[in-house]
């Protein structure tokens, strides 16, 4: 069983409500699901969709071909019906679309009438549609009823009851109308699965790493992280400050980090552009900071709600002057969770900025898991405070050490003064102009720290054949689609994937000789969601790696496993 459901319509019609309820339903029923969103930059109208892939086996990417299409408006129906499989079904309400369709597999279900008959208003059409989809799949409503009660927990009992009745009416109608439907859901063991998006996983990872201060300016697709953290601020004791702009956001976070707490900011490309001066400040003051950079297509405003891996070069080179940085690029919500924890650890241990590079596709995608293992989290407070600091005499914020790292004291906790300066400075932190001190500090910040940082970077994920003739290489959000493409190709070829989720500094060859794997393959493809092959260039520049070809997509849409398989086949 491997079904793809797409709910399409105008913004504000309830696409998210229907899709979200179904996602919860399947995850709670024990299925593996993968969801993603495609939406326009508007609050009402347009054409948008929520897509959900459900299976009894793990699924980690989206497919282009649809089994069930739910159309909430006529324009979306016209746009997306070409993606419907021949044996697929389309569900619509001819009354609200003011349009009837004659095709056998187009089911006209009177969402609005059934909602009204269930004692509800037009808005409960969403519950009718949700029930109808489950009816079509021959699934029962028990778990859905619980989800409806939770969703409307803050509303009166009668509203919960009417929505439950509306779902039942939709379910009943679909079961009757679709006696010959070939779609049925296989049963799975009903252990509920965890369902989590990329954005929430970063927020959760930050909260689980002892985050205390988050300042940001809202910007799609990074805002989900801020929403998640803000929701936890009282429970976990976190200050979330909405800054007047991204310049303020990063400077606030750096101030809080200086004062002794774990700090983070998040943004997208345009906001990150404003943060670059602050990034450089983090560099010279050696102030730990974690920055989530959720990419969307540029330049400038670009395609605000769509996806691209177009800011790798920007993240690599952002900020004036020379200073070390770490760039992590999770490929799934699970990786996002653990890598966010790693980001806080590296930022604090080496007193450098760490950038978590995601994109709209990962931010808005939901994956299912058995669970996350909190024993894999590492939270060691690296700051100098309390008794250890109080007993210290003559503390110097930038005292030179073998590792390049000077213990970072918390100001105000002792008589020791903590002096930091954006000017080049001496060991005490006071501004200097002389060449010898300049060299000392540059060596401390860059050359002493970098080898230690590099040791911490994990090898890329290797999946597939041990002697691959085809190697697919990617980074960040393409993890799922690369892995599934390799699975599909493996029926015919010796294929493998190399996926980089810790991309700068590049992992040491000693951990896994990825250069050799790529060199030996007869077909090696660097696959990126951008136009110019930014990661391919990084590998060539820093590791001398070249590929036999590449696949680049820059239309603002993510890769799909079936689409990418076709692209790879065309290059074999």
């Amino acid at each position: 069983m491997d079904y793809t459901l797409r709910i399409c319509g105008q913004a504000g019609q309830g696409i998210q409500t229907i899709g979200g309820s179904l996602a919860r339903y399947f995850a709670r029923s024990g299925y593996h699901i993968f969801t993603n969103k495609d939406y326009e930059s508007r609050v009402r109208g347009g054409h948008n969709y929520y897509q959900l892939r459900v299976s009894d086996m793990p699924v980690i990417s989206s497919l282009d071909r649809i089994d069930i299409l739910v159309a909430l408006d006529a324009v979306s129906l016209e746009i997306y019906r070409i993606d419907l499989k021949d044996e697929g079904h389309l569900i619509y309400d001819s009354k609200s679309l003011h349009q009837e369709y004659k095709q056998d597999n187009y089911l006209d279900i009177p969402f609005e009438i059934l909602a009204a008959e269930s004692g509800g208003s037009k808005i409960m059409s969403n519950s009718v549609a949700t029930g109808a989809i489950l009816g079509l799949l021959g699934m029962d409503l028990e778990i859905l009823n619980g989800i409806i009660r939770e969703s409307f927990a803050k509303k009166e009992q009668s509203i919960q009851d009417s929505n439950i009745a509306a779902a039942a009416a939709g379910h009943q109608f679909a079961v009757k109308a679709c006696t010959s439907c070939p779609l049925t859901a296989d049963t799975v063991n009903n252990n509920p699965r965890m369902l989590i998006s990329g954005s929430d996983a970063i927020g959760l990872g930050a909260v689980a790493s002892g985050l205390k201060f988050y300042s940001a300016y809202p910007m799609t697709p990074s805002t989900g992280i801020m929403n998640y953290i803000a929701d936890k601020e009282v429970e976990y004791g976190i200050i979330v400050e909405q800054a007047e702009d991204e310049i303020a956001a990063i400077n606030m976070a750096l101030g809080a980090s200086y004062a002794g707490v774990r700090s983070m900011t998040g943004t997208s490309g345009g906001g990150f552009a404003l943060m670059t001066e602050g990034l450089s400040l983090a560099g010279i003051t050696e102030t730990p900071i974690v920055i989530a950079l959720a990419q969307r297509p540029g330049p400038a405003t670009g395609l605000p709600t769509r996806t691209e891996q177009g800011d790798l070069n920007f993240a690599l080179h952002a900020g004036h002057g020379e200073f070390p940085r770490v760039i992590l690029a999770p490929g799934s919500p699970e990786q996002a969770f653990y890598l966010t924890n790693k980001a806080f650890g590296l930022a604090e241990k080496y007193q450098v900025p760490v950038i978590i590079l995601t994109d709209q596709y990962l931010a808005d995608s939901e994956w299912t898991y058995d669970g996350f293992d909190t024993s894999r989290l590492h939270n060691h407070d690296q700051r100098l405070r309390g008794e250890a600091l109080a007993n210290m005499n003559n503390y110097k914020r930038y005292a030179c050490t073998d590792s390049g790292v000077t213990p970072m004291a918390v100001p105000g906790e002792s008589v020791n003064l903590v002096v930091v300066d954006s000017d080049e400075h001496n060991e005490e932190g006071h501004m200097i102009e002389d060449a010898a001190t300049r060299n000392l500090m540059m060596d401390k910040r860059i050359f002493k720290k970098l080898p230690h940082i590099r040791e911490e970077i994990s090898a890329p994920a290797y999946y597939g054949s041990e002697k691959p003739e085809i190697v697919l290489v990617g980074w960040g959000s393409t993890y799922g689609v690369l892995k599934e493409t390799v699975q599909i190709l493996s029926g015919e070829y010796e294929a493998a994937m190399l996926h980089f989720s810790e991309i700068y500094p590049l992992p040491e060859i000693e951990k896994l000789d990825y250069a050799e794997i790529i060199r030996k393959a007869s077909v090696s493809l660097c696959i990126e969601n951008n136009a110019t092959g930014q990661f391919e260039r990084l590998l060539r520049a820093e590791a001398g790696i070249s590929f036999t070809g590449n696949i680049r997509k820059y239309d603002g849409r993510p890769f799909s496993a079936d689409g990418l398989t076709g692209e790879v086949n065309a290059r074999i």
Binding site: P192, M194, L195, D200, L204, V207, A208, K212, F213, S215, K232, V234, E235, Y236, G237, I238, I239, E241, A243, E244, I247, A248, A249, N251, M252, A253, G255, A256, S257, Y258, A259, G260, V261, S263, E277, G278, L281, T285, G371, T374, L377, G386, A390, V410, P411, G412, E413, S414, V415, N416, L417, V418, V419, V420, D421, S422, D423, G429, H430, M431
Partner: protein
């Protein structure tokens, strides 16, 4: 649960700071610079208020004024041009038991950092902003600043300044800034008194300090200011916003010195329940909550 670890901190007896103990590195200002008067007044303020060097953090941006924290002994965050206020905001919110004072100039704060000033006033965080206002750019050698007089000629404005002079006092009162004052670097007694009042005020305080630049500003000299400044009368009520606004518009023949406006808006630190008891920096992370939070995803 959270306090335990920090009670280990060795308690030491508070010592009275003396003027000579507050000396930082050697100032790089021009001899005769108005900044020296501000440095002396601030040291006097610390001595009179019994604030030791480690008991506050001085935050600055870039410019001649922004070098100030290096010239006294203190915790220092000397950040970016125009960005002192957001950095100070983060520092204060992370530890609101620690005093935060900000030292900037008219170019740094009213020009490059203007947007931050507006929003820091709105937030009303309890910290004091001292603007060394010499009506000119010093570090970049003599260009017009937002408070430069209309019509003055500089190397970069050879045709004269066309823009209207910014009135920081009127702007701050319009934004209902919690404490708005003006003082003069050549009047250390008044300046010390004003600094003390600003630091004691619970909320965001802005002190605009008239400070002659003897090298680049040939118009707004010590004499020019001395001929014009006057003290607000004893019976002046700084809590009347409308009359305060009228006073803030005085400039030219008469320039008022003193606390022009203040109100009792609650400070942000007193409103955020997250830090109602313990400073953020003293709150231990409770990792045991995470497993419960994970359940919310099922």
């Amino acid at each position: 649960m959270m306090e335990g670890l920090f009670q280990l901190t060795v308690l030491r007896e508070k010592s009275m700071p003396e003027f000579k103990d507050l000396k930082g590195i050697e100032p790089a200002w021009c001899p005769g610079c108005g900044n020296f008067g501000i440095l002396k007044a601030f040291k006097d303020t610390l001595v009179q208020m019994n604030i030791e060097p480690h008991e506050f953090t001085a935050v600055s941006g870039i410019g001649q004024a922004a070098k100030f924290p290096h010239y006294i002994k203190c915790n220092t965050f000397n950040g970016l041009h125009g960005r002192a206020l957001p950095a100070a905001t983060g520092i204060r919110l992370a530890n609101h038991k620690q005093r935060v004072m900000i030292f900037t100039g008219d170019g740094d704060c009213y020009g490059e950092g203007g947007n931050h000033l507006i929003h820091t006033i709105r937030r009303n965080i309890n910290m004091s902003l001292f603007v060394h206002d010499n009506q000119i750019y010093g570090l970049t050698k003599g260009q017009a600043s937002p408070t430069s007089a209309e019509g003055i000629h500089t190397k970069n404005q050879p045709l004269g300044v066309f823009s209207e002079q910014l009135n920081p006092m009127a702007m701050a009162i319009a934004l209902d800034c919690s404490f708005v004052a003006r003082s003069f670097s050549a009047d250390p007694e008044h300046l010390t008194k004003t600094m003390k009042a600003a630091i004691e005020h619970n909320g965001f305080s802005l002190v605009d300090i008239l400070q002659p630049c003897i090298t680049f500003n040939k118009l707004n000299t010590y004499e020019w200011y001395k001929e014009r400044v006057y003290y607000l009368e004893n019976e002046y009520n700084p809590e009347d916003r409308v009359s305060a606004f009228a006073r803030s518009l005085e400039w030219g023949d008469k320039i008022p010195l003193g606390i022009i406006y203040k109100n009792n808006r609650p400070a942000l630190e007193d409103r955020n329940p997250v830090i109602s008891e313990l400073a953020l920096v003293k709150q231990q992370f409770n990792g045991t909550l995470i497993n419960k939070t994970l359940r919310e995803f099922y």
